[in-house]
């Protein structure tokens, strides 16, 4: 379980998060939505200790991790699979080596065994036939899929996916949706997804959290969103250019 309590964060003069309170419940699929630049990615990075809040607490599995140093974070980070918004594969390694790296580092297995295991993870995202290409030899959406595979290698209890379907075609997006449901329903993992993709949002989410102006604006199951009379929410779901929403 991840809990954010009164999180504030600014970069210079720019206030990004101003009082976020929310809890991610175990074994649920939670979607975080909101306009670009509201700080969704910033919030996800805080959950993995890559950024620290200016004030407020971050609680992971009942432990206050806000003031953890790099060493202590190192130990709990393997519980997470964080997939960044911009695919960040190691560009000096093949796709297979990318996926094998965490296995070699944490499982203490040989190179060969790790390479063998890596194929299984690549197959999960439909990339097994490109295993020996370099990251810059495949497209951005394929790089994204490989970074999802890499993040899942360490059997994390919680997967955080930052815009996993942005830039993917419709078929590939549904593959990712299936993967998300499988992670939660079959493997019992907690899944947090940042997304703009309405089809995946209303298709697989157990719970949707809408961020607006640095705060949680609405928090509930998809039905709550469809039922909401809030003009900002209506505008966001409808995707209309004009309305009360400030960006």
């Amino acid at each position: 379980m991840i809990a954010f309590q009164g999180i504030h964060k600014s970069f210079g003069d720019k206030v990004v998060l101003s009082g976020i309170d929310l809890q991610i419940r175990d074994r649920e699929i939670t979607f975080i939505i909101g306009a670009s630049g509201t700080g969704k990615s910033v919030l996800m990075k805080m959950a993995a200790g890559l950024l620290t809040p200016d004030s407020g607490r971050v609680i992971v599995d009942g432990e206050d991790v806000t003031d953890f140093g790099e060493d202590r974070w190192q130990r709990i980070r393997t519980r997470y699979a964080l997939v960044f918004q911009h695919p960040n594969l190691f560009d000096s390694m093949t796709l297979r080596e990318n996926v094998a790296l965490p296995l070699r580092k944490h499982r203490g297995i040989s190179r060969k065994a790790a390479f063998f295991a890596a194929i299984e993870f690549l197959a999960m995202v439909g990339m097994e036939d490109k295993a020996d290409l370099m990251p810059d030899e495949v497209g951005p959406s394929q790089r994204k899929r490989v970074s999802i595979a890499r993040a899942l290698t360490l059997d994390p209890t919680c997967a955080i996916l930052d815009e996993p379907t942005t830039g993917l075609d419709v078929v590939a997006s549904r593959t990712i949706d299936d993967l998300i449901s499988r992670l939660a329903r079959e493997l019992g993992k907690t899944v947090v997804v940042v997304s703009h993709d309405l089809r995946s949002i209303f298709g697989v989410a157990d719970r949707i959290i809408f961020l607006y102006k640095g705060r949680v604006h609405l928090d509930g199951p998809s039905q709550a969103f469809h039922a909401s009379r809030d003009p900002v929410v209506r505008q966001f779901i409808g995707g209309e250019p004009d309305g009360p929403m400030e960006t």
């Binding site: 993995a48 890559l50 190192q74 130990r75 911009h86 960040n88 190691f90 580092k105 890499r150």
Partner: protein, 285 residues
Amino acid sequence: MPGRSLDTGPAGAAAASRRPRFLDAVSAALAIAVRPVGKGFLDACTIVGGMTLLQVRIFRAMIPPSFDYDETLRQFEKVGVRSLAVVIMTSLFVGALMLVQTGNFVRDTGATSMVGWATGLTVLAEVGPVLIGLMFSGRVGANNTAELGTMTITEQVDALRVLGIDPVRHLVVPRFVAMCVMLVLLTCIGDLFAITGAAIACQLIVGIDVRVFWQGLLEGHLVGEFVMGLVKGFFFGGAISIVSCYWGLRVEGGAEGVGRAVNNSVVTSAIAIFVVNFLVTMLWV
């Protein structure tokens, strides 16, 4: 912190009307003159502190050794392949250059037997290691900063951290080990080529028989100087790796940031090389 204390802000401005004019002028001039010094000093402290911290983390990762052997091997290859040609060419020219300089002297004094010893001494003990180190810093150190900088701004370093892999163990230690070892080897090879360059210049440019040069070199008993040069190479390699990794991992703000970081990296490395060179010689001789 002289820069800080002079910065009285609005309160100081309010008090200005009550104070004699020339005192204001003096304090303003002092502020202009002293503030950059104070700021430079603070910046230097930050940089040196950061590098020392990185050094500590490198040692913690090495005792007991727990770093990436594959990456280390890869670094050995990259560092060596990348810098060998540059080091050989530099050394040939530096050797020849030092001999021509000595030639000026010898022509005036007629002491031809000096030539081998004097050139050997400067090349093996001081000028060779320093110039090889500077070229190595330009080739390998700068490249390393650019590479780590790109990894930093494309969030590859963060990717390592989220996968529970310590960037210092995985990225910095292999580079540290590779650069320390390789610069010793390269200094060794460079010495060889510098002596060759000097011998060629001796015969062809200065017109002293090369046997006189060899004799002077061998009778000079320069083994101690040669070993000191290698020790310098080792410490230069360590300094260059720490400096270049430090700047690379701190890059902010896109392509421009990478360019600035590389610039800072080579400047800091050059300072480190001259300071380390001084310290090693003082402690050794």
